[in-house]
Symmetry: C2
Subunit: 191 residues, 2 copies
DNA sequence: TAAAAATACTCCATAGGTATTTTAT
DNA sequence: ATAAAATACCTATGGAGTATTTTTA
């Protein structure tokens, strides 16, 4: 019997059953699972996460039941990971890090970082007025990442209409703008 | 005003507030969010996910509210992503893929792949008896990945005691084994 | 036997459903 | 005018807590 063959056939695709199992995973359980792994003790993990130990126990047991897997060996002094548990721990850490990234990135947006805003302006506006106007605009709209391109006044409006940029700066009037910021002879429209 | 400076200060660490926001993210919302992005239409997304449209709407709105971010522009014909939404979409996809990996890997374990099992055996056992014994053992215990090492009989027992391996094969008797599989003159103990 | 985990049971918050209203083109 | 999204309201499920029992070394 060739021992090597035992290691074969380990690459598989998600079956329908596995796809259904996917939605039995939830982030709270993963967080608690990681806490239990860190503490090697369900009670301490529960304290650390500010939740009743019984709730953690139920989550761990339900999770094991749902996947038909034993994640921990229950010892008198705490919990020890099984190989399956080790495997889960790795993926759980990665997943939770991803979720943290989501929170961080969305928080940035909520604080006014609205991503890449494309801005068109005619040259004289850039040279003469943009410095003060921009600082006022940013004061009113929060932090932005700006991609500024110089265009003749006529192309500014057109560029906005075509979706080439979100903010246009020129000397002509314009309707259907969502908000405006005006100075002596320059008006900033944002769509 | 140096425009370049606007692009500075974009690397940040998670604040306590962001850490708290982390637990407002849940996988169901991410799944529904991705569905809405795919369909560009909340109603269709709800159908596809087998849930009421109102529930999806509420989740999306609550999520936007929690993070103080607008993810969609609401159009008469459907929903269009904002830049913040685009950013979330990327992370959401990655996260959901990770979760799928979790389900797949745990399913493998539940089907008997118990990860890497270390096994010690003395040479004569390997040469003479392992072939048939192993096939019977695997038949009884399900699929395993095996790391086999040759050891003199004495070191086999010792290696097991020290946790160097989970399975030992030799010709002596042993107690406190969890399960045994015996043939003519070879016994497999597993701990 | 002592520390820790699991269970039994209760209660409440939340998430989903139905029906309706509001919005946008 | 119409399709789609948001809201209001109700209900029920499930998740958390307290108290207790069971397990493990």
């Amino acid at each position: 019997m060739p021992l090597a063959s035992i290691d074969d056939d380990l690459q598989r695709n998600p079956t329908p059953a596995e796809a259904a199992l996917t939605r039995r995973v939830d982030l709270t359980t993963l967080r608690l699972f990681v806490a239990v792994c860190d503490e090697q003790n369900l009670t301490r993990a529960a304290q650390r996460e500010g939740i009743a130990a019984s709730a953690v126990s139920k989550r761990m047991n339900d999770f094991e039941l749902a996947f038909g897997v034993t994640l921990f060996k229950r010892l008198a002094k705490g919990m020890a990971l099984t190989p399956a548990g080790e495997a889960l721990l790795h993926h759980a850490r990665v997943t939770l890090l991803n979720v943290e990234k989501i929170a961080v990135e969305l928080s940035e947006y909520s604080q006014g970082v609205r991503g890449h805003v494309r801005m068109l302006a005619n040259l004289s506006a850039i040279v003469q007025y943009l410095p003060e106007d921009l600082s006022a605009f940013f004061g009113a709209h929060g932090l932005l990442r700006v991609d500024l391109q110089e265009r003749p006044s006529g192309q500014v409006v057109r560029g906005i209409e075509e979706g080439a940029a979100e903010i246009g700066i020129c000397s002509a009037e314009a309707d259907n703008a969502r908000s405006t910021f005006s100075t002596t002879d320059t008006t900033i429209w944002s769509w």
